[in-house]
Amino acid sequence: MKKTAVKSFVYVFLLSVLFGACKKVEDPQKNSSIISSSTFAQGVFITNEGPFGSGTGTVSFYDRKLNTVRADIFQEVNNRPLGNVVQSMEIIGDKAYIVVNNANKIEVVNASTFKSVGSIANLEYPRYILSDGKGKAYISQWSSPGRIAVVQLDNLKILKTIVVADGPERMLLFGDKLYVVNTGGFGSENKVSVINTLTDELEQNITTGDSPNSLVLDANHKIWILCGGKKVYAGAPSYELDTAASTAGSLLMLDAISGQIEKSLSFSSKVLFPSNLCLNKEKNQLFFNGGDGVYAMKISDAVLPQQSIVNKVFYSLAYDTVSTYLYGSDPLDYQGKGEVYRYNSYGMEIDHFQAGIIPGNFTFR
C-alpha cells in the first residue's frame, strides 16, 4: 500500500517534470510607445554612466517644451541596453554618436528617432568624439598610452590612431587644429595635444597645469583650458589628501592663432579640483564646478572668482545655449537614479528632474 503510494507520487512527479519543466522563453516585449521623427528633434540628452562594475549606462531625454523626461531612450527604441559606462554623446549631422567607455564602442543612432544605424567597435576605452566637419571624427581613448582614433564617418572605419599623452579627454577644433586635453587617465598628466587635422599627425604637446580636463573657445578666439590639479594621497596612517604633494588647479588662456599661453591663473585651494569648464551663448562668460559649488567668471576678468554662484556640488556641469540655463548633475548615492538641476546664469535654481544612474554629460539640441 505504502509502496504504491510512493510509486504513484514518483510517476506524477516525473510526468509533471516532463510536461512542465521547460517553459518557452518569451520574446522580450516590444515597446509600443510612439516615436516619430520629431520626438528627439529638440531637447537635452543626458548620458548616464550607469552603476559601477558591470552595469549598463543609459541616455535620458529632456523635452524643454513639454518639461518631460524620457528615461533610457536607447533601450526603448532599440530594445537592448547600451553597455557599460556611457561616457558622452555627440550629435554630428543627423546622427548621434554615443560613446560607451568600457564596452569599447560607439553606438550610432539617428539623432531624431534614436534608431540604431551602426556602431564603431574595437576602440580602447573611448571618452569623447568630435567631428572635423569634413566627414571625419576624432575619438579620444584612455588606452595605454592615450590615443586619438580617426574615423571615417560614412563607413565608420577607423583610419588611424594617433598617440597623444595619458588620458586624452575632451577635444576642441579650431581651424585645422584639434586640441586635446590629457587628464592623465588612471595617473597624472599635464599636456594639451595639438593635432593637425589635414595630416592627422601630432603637432605638439603643450605643457599645462596638472590634469587639464576641459576646454572652450571664447568670442575672442582664445582657448580656455581648465586644469583640475593633482591629487596625492598620504601614506599610513591617515591616507588623507597630501596637500603638500598635491597641486592646485589652474585656468589657462591660450591664443588659438599663435598657440601661446597668454594667461595662467592658479587656484589657491588644493581641494577645489575645478572641472567642467563651459561657456555661455555669447561666449564671454565661463562657468565651472569646484569642490564646493559652481563658479562664474567673465572672460575679461583678471582674477579667478572667489565666490560660487551655486553652493551645490555637481558631478557634471554644462551650459545650454538654447535655454541659456546651466545644467548640473547630482548622482546622489551613485547607485540609484540621479538628478539634474537647472539654473540661470546668476545661479538661481529653475527646477530639477530625475535622470538615470550617475548622470555624467549633457548634449543639447
Partner: protein, 678 residues
C-alpha cells in the same frame, strides 16, 4: 495537529506573498491561486505545472501525508563529552547536514554548485568567476566558511570564493543557518558553512579514481586514497580540473540578441589534500590537515563590456595540527593552523597589476567539562594573527585578535529539553568588539515533533581593505554589530532506522545589523567605507526531506523554501525601507533521487526569485528556474566498484542571469566514470 500546522504555514507564506509584494512573489502566491482559488493568473500553464512540481515536492517532503507511519520517540544520546564540536554547543540552531550520499554525487563539483542545488541559501554567481553565498538577507561577507575549523575568509576582502572550493575537500558539510558570532566570532551574522573531515579508524585500504569530461572543454580528475586501521588513518586526495568555459550565451546588448560564444574564460586548478589521524590508547587523538591549491582563470567580459584581457592566478595553502585528550568527564583540545593565499590579478588593457597576499595563523585551546549528566561546559581561547600586503596598502598590514569564549549546556536526562548559554568576547588592536552572548533551546513536544529557538548578538570586524586601502580606507571604522534570532518547529525521525525517514524544519527568523560597513562616495572620485548602513532581515524558511529505503530501492525527496525580507533601515538613506540588492524575496529547491539495483536517477530544480540590482529598485533581475538531471549506474566486481554517470545541467537550456549582465551557461553535459578499489 501537524497537518493543521503545515496548512497554516503555507497560508501564512501565500498571504504574505500576495499582500506584501504581489508580483515579485510568483511562487508561493501561485500555489494557492492554482490549488485553491479559481482566480486567473498571468502565469502560463507551463509555469503552473512547474509550480505544481514544487508543491508536490513540498508535500512529499513533509511527512504529514504519511501520518500513519509509526513515529518513534527520538531520544537524544546520553551524556557524553561532545568531542569538541567546533563552536561549542549548537542548541536551537538550524543546521543542514549534507548527506554523504548526496555529497558523493557532487564529489567532482565545487561548493557553489552543491549549495545552489542542495540548500535554500542564495548563491550569487559571477558565471565562471567568483561565487558567494548569503543567508537570511545578509551579504556574502556575513557568511563564515571553515575547513576543519580553519577560517577560509580572506582578511583582506572578508569573502571566500565558493567556486574555488572543491566539495571533496571534506568528508561532510554542515550549513549552519543564522547568526553565530558567539560560536565562531566575526562575520557570521547570516550563517556559516563547515567543511570537515572525520576519521573512521577502521581497517581499510581504499583507492578511488574518478574522472569526468563535459561540455565546454571541462575535465576533472581525482585520485583518492584512504589507508588506516583502528589506530591511524591517512587520507590523500588529488583533484585537478580545467575548463575552456566557452559556452554559448545570448548577447542582450546586440541587435536581435545573437548567440555568442564566451571567450577568455579558461580556468585550471589543482588541489592536494592530506589528512592524517592518529589515535593513541589513552584517548588522545592527533589530527593533521594540509591543503594546497593552485590555479588560474581568465576573467571574461560581461555582456555590457566588449572584451576582457583580465586574468588571475591564485595559490593557497592551509595546514593545521590538532591534539585532543579526552578524560572521563572532561577533554582538552589544542590546535594550531596556518593559511596563506597569494593572488595575482592583471589586466593589460588598463595596466592594472595587483599582487596581493595574506598569511593567517590561528591557534585554539579549548577545554570541555561535564559537571554531571545535565550540565556541560565548553570554554576556550583563540588567537588569530593576520598580515596582508597589496600595493594599495602602502605597507604590510597586521591585525591580531584574541577571542575568549565559554558556553554551558543544560539538558534533562531524557534529552527532551536542552538549553545553552554562551558568551564570547574578541579583543582587537584597532577597535573594540562587542560582547556576543547567545542563548538557545530545543524541546521535544510530541514523539519526533519539537521546537527550537535561539537569539544572539553578532559582530563583524572591518576588513583590511576597509581599513587600509588607498585612497579611501578608513582606519577609524568600528565593527558592525547586530542581533539575530530564530524560532521554529522540527520533525525528525532520521535516527530511528525505519524504512521511512523524514525531517522537516520550519522556522521564522529576525536579524539586524547596525554600523554595516558600506563604501560611499567621499568627494571627487574617492570612495570611503563608513559605518552607515543599518539592515533588518526577517523571513521564513522551510526544509523538508523524505527518504524511503527497502532492500536495494532507495528514494530521497527533498525541498526547501526561503522567504526573505531584508530592508535598509538607515532613515537618512535615500533608499530607506527598501529591500537590499541581490537578496531574492524567494528561493526554493526541490529534488528527487532514486536508486534501484545500482541504477541511479536524480532530478533537481531550483527557483531563484526576482532580485533588485540597484538600491533604488529601478532595476530588477527576473526570477529563474533551473532543472538539472543526473543518471548513473554502478557495478560491483569483487573488490572493485565501478561507477558511471551522466549529468545534464540546465536541462531546459534556460537563459538567465544570476548577476546582471554576466553570461551563464545553457544546457551542458558531463560524463563521469569512477573506479574504487577496497
Amino acid at each position: 495537529m501537524d497537518l493543521a500546522y503545515v496548512c497554516f504555514f503555507f497560508l501564512l507564506i501565500s498571504v504574505l506573498a500576495k499582500k506584501i509584494h504581489g508580483k515579485v512573489l510568483p511562487l508561493a502566491g501561485s500555489y494557492f491561486q492554482y490549488l485553491f482559488l479559481t482566480e486567473k493568473t498571468d502565469d502560463s500553464d507551463m509555469m503552473r505545472l512547474q509550480n505544481i512540481l514544487f508543491f508536490l515536492l513540498f508535500i512529499l517532503g513533509s511527512p504529514f501525508l504519511f501520518g500513519q507511519v509509526k513515529d518513534s520517540v527520538y531520544i537524544l544520546p546520553a551524556a557524553e563529552i561532545q568531542a569538541f564540536r567546533s563552536g561549542g554547543f549548537q542548541t536551537g540552531v538550524k543546521t543542514t547536514h549534507i548527506d554523504s550520499v548526496v555529497l558523493s554525487d557532487y564529489h567532482l563539483s565545487s561548493l557553489s554548485v552543491l549549495l545552489n542545488q542542495q540548500s535554500s541559501v542564495f548563491v550569487k554567481s559571477y558565471g565562471t568567476s567568483y561565487a558567494g553565498t548569503s543567508f537570511r538577507g545578509m551579504s556574502a561577507a556575513h557568511t563564515g566558511i571553515y575547513w576543519n575549523d580553519i577560517p577560509l575568509g580572506s582578511p583582506m576582502l572578508g569573502l571566500t570564493d565558493l567556486s574555488l572550493l572543491p566539495v571533496s575537500a571534506g568528508d561532510y558539510i554542515d550549513i549552519r543557518h543564522g547568526g553565530g558570532s558567539a560560536a565562531f566570532g566575526s562575520g557570521n551574522a547570516g550563517g556559516s558553512i563547515h567543511i570537515d573531515s572525520k576519521p573512521e579508524f577502521i581497517k581499510r585500504n581504499k583507492l578511488g579514481i574518478q574522472q569526468s569530461i563535459g561540455s565546454f572543454g571541462a575535465y576533472t580528475g581525482s585520485l583518492h586514497s584512504v589507508n588506516g586501521n583502528e589506530r591511524w588513518q591517512s587520507s590523500s586526495k588529488m583533484i585537478f580540473n580545467k575548463s575552456e568555459n566557452n559556452f554559448i550565451f545570448t548577447d542582450l546588448f546586440s541587435d536581435g540578441y545573437p548567440k555568442k560564444r564566451l571567450s577568455h574564460a579558461e580556468s585550471s586548478r589543482a588541489s592536494l589534500i592530506q589528512d592524517f589521524y592518529y589515535r593513541a590508547k589513552n584517548n588522545q587523538t592527533l589530527s593533521l590537515h594540509a591543503w594546497y591549491q593552485g590555479g588560474m582563470r581568465n576573467i571574461p567580459a560581461t555582456m555590457s563590456m566588449s572584451m576582457s584581457k583580465a586574468s588571475e592566478e591564485e595559490q593557497s595553502m592551509r595546514a593545521s595540527a590538532e591534539w585532543k585528550q579526552l578524560f572521563a568527564t572532561s577533554g582538552i583540545q589544542l590546535m594550531t593552523a596556518y593559511s596563506y593565499n597569494h593572488l595575482l590579478y592583471r589586466d593589460p588593457t588598463t595596466g592594472i597589476f595587483s599582487d596581493s597576499y595574506y598569511h593567517t595563523t590561528f591557534s585554539k585551546a579549548a577545554y570541555d567539562y561535564a559537571f554531571d549528566e545535565r550540565f556541560q561546559l565548553h570554554t576556550g581561547i583563540n588567537l588569530t594573527y593576520s598580515s596582508a600586503y597589496v600595493n594599495e596598502y602602502g605597507m604590510k598590514r597586521n591585525q591580531g585578535l584574541v577571542s575568549l569564549y565559554a558556553s554551558i549546556q543544560y539538558r534533562i536526562k531524557s534529552g527532551k529539553f536542552k538549553s545553552t548559554l554562551a558568551l564570547r568576547r574578541d579583543y582587537a588592536e584597532l577597535f573594540t568588539c562587542p560582547m556576543t552572548p547567545f542563548a538557545g533551546l530545543e524541546m521535544v513536544l510530541y514523539k519526533s515533533f519539537g521546537w527550537y529557538a535561539n537569539a544572539g548578538r553578532n559582530f563583524r570586524i572591518p576588513t583590511f581593505n576597509d581599513l587600509f586601502w588607498r585612497p579611501g580606507g578608513n582606519p577609524s571604522l568600528k565593527p558592525e554589530n547586530g542581533i539575530s534570532s530564530e524560532a521554529g518547529f522540527s520533525i525528525d525521525n532520521t535516527k530511528s532506522h525505519q524504512a521511512f525517514t523524514y525531517e522537516m524544519h520550519a522556522s521564522g527568523f529576525y536579524s539586524s545589523v547596525q554600523d554595516w560597513i558600506i563604501w560611499l562616495p567621499a568627494g571627487g572620485m574617492v570612495w570611503s567605507p563608513q559605518n552607515m548602513k543599518s539592515v533588518m532581515g526577517r523571513g521564513l524558511e522551510y526544509e523538508g526531506m523524505l527518504a524511503f529505503q527497502r532492500k536495494d530501492f532507495r528514494l530521497h525527496l527533498s525541498g526547501s523554501y526561503a522567504f526573505t525580507l531584508s530592508d535598509n533601515q538607515n532613515k537618512t538613506d535615500l533608499n530607506y525601507g527598501r529591500q537590499l540588492i541581490y537578496v531574492p524575496y524567494e528561493n526554493a529547491n526541490a529534488s528527487i533521487r532514486l536508486e534501484y539495483k545500482g541504477y541511479l536517477f536524480s532530478l533537481h530544480e531550483s527557483y531563484t526569485g526576482g532580485r533588485y540590482v540597484s538600491p533604488d529598485h529601478s532595476e530588477i533581475l527576473p526570477a529563474y528556474q533551473l532543472l538539472n538531471m543526473s543518471a548513473g549506474k554502478f557495478f560491483v566486481f569483487g573488490n572493485y566498484l565501478l561507477r558511471m554517470g551522466l549529468d545534464v545541467n540546465n536541462l531546459c537550456n534556460t537563459s538567465y542571469q544570476s548577476v546582471q549582465w554576466i553570461p551563464m551557461p545553457g544546457r551542458s553535459y558531463g560524463f563521469k566514470i569512477g573506479i574504487e578499489f577496497n
